[in-house]
């Protein structure tokens, strides 16, 4: 049984998908990692870029938005080798297995960059309960996502989103987050059932799941399963810092008709869903 569904909250739904994404959360020097899902800092940074806020500007209201991620396709981790420079002074390079430094002509550094390939996420942005005034901010964000100040990317510059990034402004964003077509192909008939995971910075026990779907225990979804260090305090290049925040998880089994397929197929099922879900009056698609 689900807990009493949360009251309807307006918000935006985003479709974060592309061949590659990379949501670094504890990258250092030559090892650039990626989280398995869009981080808070990554999404807030994307909104700031759309709004045209420079890195030194305060994050303000954006930092308070609630972000709920639905993992449509988890993707796979891709490690990319990138060589850097060469010609570094020996003392500045990595230590060899013998505990020595390399000689002057073999000091090229190898940088390992991790990407999430083939992943797709549906992301809900909703106001935090104590600052409902953020509805105005969300509307501003929607405008900015339609015509961003800077080209947007999924965590790293070489990872542009494909297709529609902004799906729509909804009067009840979480309701639609649960029901919107999943950007993945349906599991093979007779094969194992596939669950879709939700990841959020707020408890997920009150997620408005349809009554007839199988979902994980709401009691567990009411408590954080981990903490993640991705709450940005400033994007200033010299002062960039992050704070920890709780991570809540929940899974559910989408009904067979909810799998939207890939590429053009997904767009078609999305258009059909929005046609029926957004009669004139609620939100605006474009």
């Amino acid at each position: 049984m689900n807990a009493e569904p949360a009251a309807a909250a307006p918000g935006l739904l985003l479709h974060c998908s592309g061949p590659l994404q990379s949501w670094g959360h504890h990258s250092h020097f030559n090892q650039r990692d990626t989280a398995a899902f869009p981080t808070r800092s990554g999404i807030i940074g994307l909104l700031a870029a759309a709004l045209g806020h420079s890195r030194t500007e305060p994050i303000d209201g954006l930092a308070h938005l609630r972000i709920t991620v639905r993992v449509d396709r988890p993707g796979v981790v891709l490690r990319d080798l990138h060589t850097v420079g060469g010609g570094l002074p020996p003392s500045g390079t990595v230590t060899t297995a013998q505990g020595k430094k390399r000689s002057g002509d073999t000091t090229t550094l190898l940088s390992h960059r991790h990407y999430l390939a083939d992943a797709a996420f549906t992301v809900a942005l909703t106001p935090s309960p104590d600052t409902p005034a953020h509805v105005g901010l969300l509307q501003e964000c929607a405008e900015a996502l339609r015509a961003p100040r800077w080209p947007l990317y999924l965590g790293r510059r070489a990872c542009p989103p494909t297709g529609p990034l902004l799906l729509s402004f909804f009067d009840d964003a979480l309701h639609h987050l649960v029901r919107l077509p999943v950007a993945a192909t349906a599991p093979r008939p007779g094969g194992p059932t596939r669950v879709v995971e939700f990841l959020a910075d707020q408890p997920l026990d009150r997620l408005p799941l349809p009554a007839d779907t199988a979902a994980s225990d709401p009691a567990e979804a009411a408590h954080p399963t981990a903490r993640i260090n991705d709450q940005p305090t400033t994007f200033h290049p010299r002062l960039r810092t992050y704070q920890a925040r709780p991570l809540y998880r929940r899974t559910f089994t989408p009904p067979s008709g909810q799998w939207g397929g890939l590429g053009t197929d997904y767009l078609t099922s999305l258009a059909a869903y929005l046609e029926q879900a957004l009669p004139t009056g609620e939100g605006s698609r474009r």
Binding site: S17, G18, D118, A158, T162, T264, R286
Partner: protein, 393 residues
């Protein structure tokens, strides 16, 4: 009055078929790959293709930017070779210039001997080629001081040259830097956000990696016919396929980087489009000669936002009945472009056009142009049209 381009983004989409090749290798010499739509595809990293574009672009616009840790040594060499400075003094001048940049440095060591005045910066500077001359001029101006100055022997030695004037040179930019950007945290306000965004390149379909076993014949062994052994054996990896390539130019950022010089922005945007379309990474070029040209180029000029069409190939393209992926890839691109423009609305598209080898029409990709030049010219003219205010140019 500041002139701004009338459009915001210029997107380039290219389909290009490349035969048996390995344009971009990973650390094990393998072809780079990526999973997309559940299948493995061949990939060329954005960094790799971007370097090919930049090399072509520099030739096209007749400007070069220099990326180096050895800026001091470079200036020293100019001073001795072109301005007749004695070697010792030139070396000292170069070292003082490099130290004045404020970038932390080490001195080169050879056989455990510190090499005086051989300054190697901890960060690469990225400057217009002309900066070498400007720094040499600065050294000329201070020649008397340099003659009296000490050599640079330790990594905490100070420069006698004016730091602000040296860093001012390191902050200069040219067309190349304005387009591709620069990251240089060590010098204040030297960073330039690039005006182009280039995506990783990948095939529109699943690919297999071919392992090519080879042996090299030893000519003497062969002549004497005294053994069957070869001189060398090995293997190399290759793959073939139809690639989707995507890049976008942020026209406003480009104009900002150029101090609202719309004429320069227009020329650079045009050169970038040509370079992006025609360039090819050079890895293993002598053993595969993969010198193909794109078979479809689609350009859009947009007032709203850039848009990659990679999702056209999220569902991998299937080989045609009589073989080949190129025609099916072109159809998939046109079909997706049509669907996504219907879904998102096409109000933001100021111009859409394409050119290529196809005899058939692709309405989803806008107007057909007979040649690349005509397509690029049309896109540039739309992007830099004189606005209502008459501000552009």
């Amino acid at each position: 009055m500041t002139a701004k381009p009338s459009a915001r983004f210029l997107c380039a989409h290219v389909l290009q078929t490349v035969p048996f090749a390995n344009l971009n290798r990973d650390d094990t010499n393998s072809v780079k790959t990526v999973q997309y739509g559940g299948v493995l595809r061949t990939r060329v990293s954005s960094q790799c293709w971007k370097r090919a574009v930049r090399t072509d672009f520099q030739q096209r616009i007749g400007q070069t930017a220099l990326r180096t840790r050895r800026i001091g040594e470079r200036v020293s060499r100019l001073l001795t070779e072109e301005r007749g400075w004695p070697e010792d003094l030139a070396a000292r001048a170069g070292a003082h210039l490099a130290v004045a940049s404020g970038i932390k440095f080490e001195l080169e060591e050879k056989e455990k001997q510190v090499q005086v005045n051989k300054v190697i910066g901890n960060a690469l500077v990225y400057v217009p080629q002309t900066a070498v001359d400007e720094l040499a001029d600065l050294a000329e101006e201070h020649r008397a001081d340099l003659e009296k100055a000490k050599d640079i022997k330790k990594s905490n030695d100070k420069s006698i040259l004016p730091k602000d004037r040296v860093t001012a040179v390191l902050r200069t930019r040219n067309g190349v830097i304005s387009v591709f950007g620069r990251m240089l945290a060590e010098v204040d306000n030297a960073g330039v956000d690039g005006a182009v965004q280039v995506a990783h390149v990948m095939t529109t379909h699943a690919t297999d990696i071919e392992i090519d076993y080879f042996s090299a014949v030893d000519d003497v062994t062969d002549d004497w016919n005294d053994s069957t052994g070869s001189g060398h054996m090995g293997h190399a990896e290759f793959s073939a396929g139809t690639f989707y390539r995507y890049a976008t130019i942020d026209l406003e950022e480009l104009a900002d980087n150029l101090g609202a010089d719309t004429k320069a922005a227009r020329e650079l945007a045009e050169a970038f489009l040509h370079s992006f379309v025609t360039s090819l990474p050079q890895a293993k070029k002598n053993s595969t000669a993969p010198n193909t040209v794109p078979d479809l180029i689609h350009l859009t000029v947009r007032a709203d936002r850039p848009l990659s069409l990679a999702a056209a190939f999220e569902k991998p393209v299937q080989m045609a009945q009589d073989g080949g992926y190129a025609a099916a890839s072109r159809d998939a691109l046109a079909q997706y472009a049509d669907a996504v423009n219907t879904f998102m609305g096409d109000d933001g598209i100021l111009l859409a056009g394409w050119t290529g080898l196809d005899a058939k029409d692709h309405t989803g990709l806008g107007d057909r142009h007979t040649a690349l030049n005509a397509l690029v010219t049309a896109a540039i003219e739309t992007a830099f049209v004189v606005g209502d205010s008459g501000a552009a140019e």
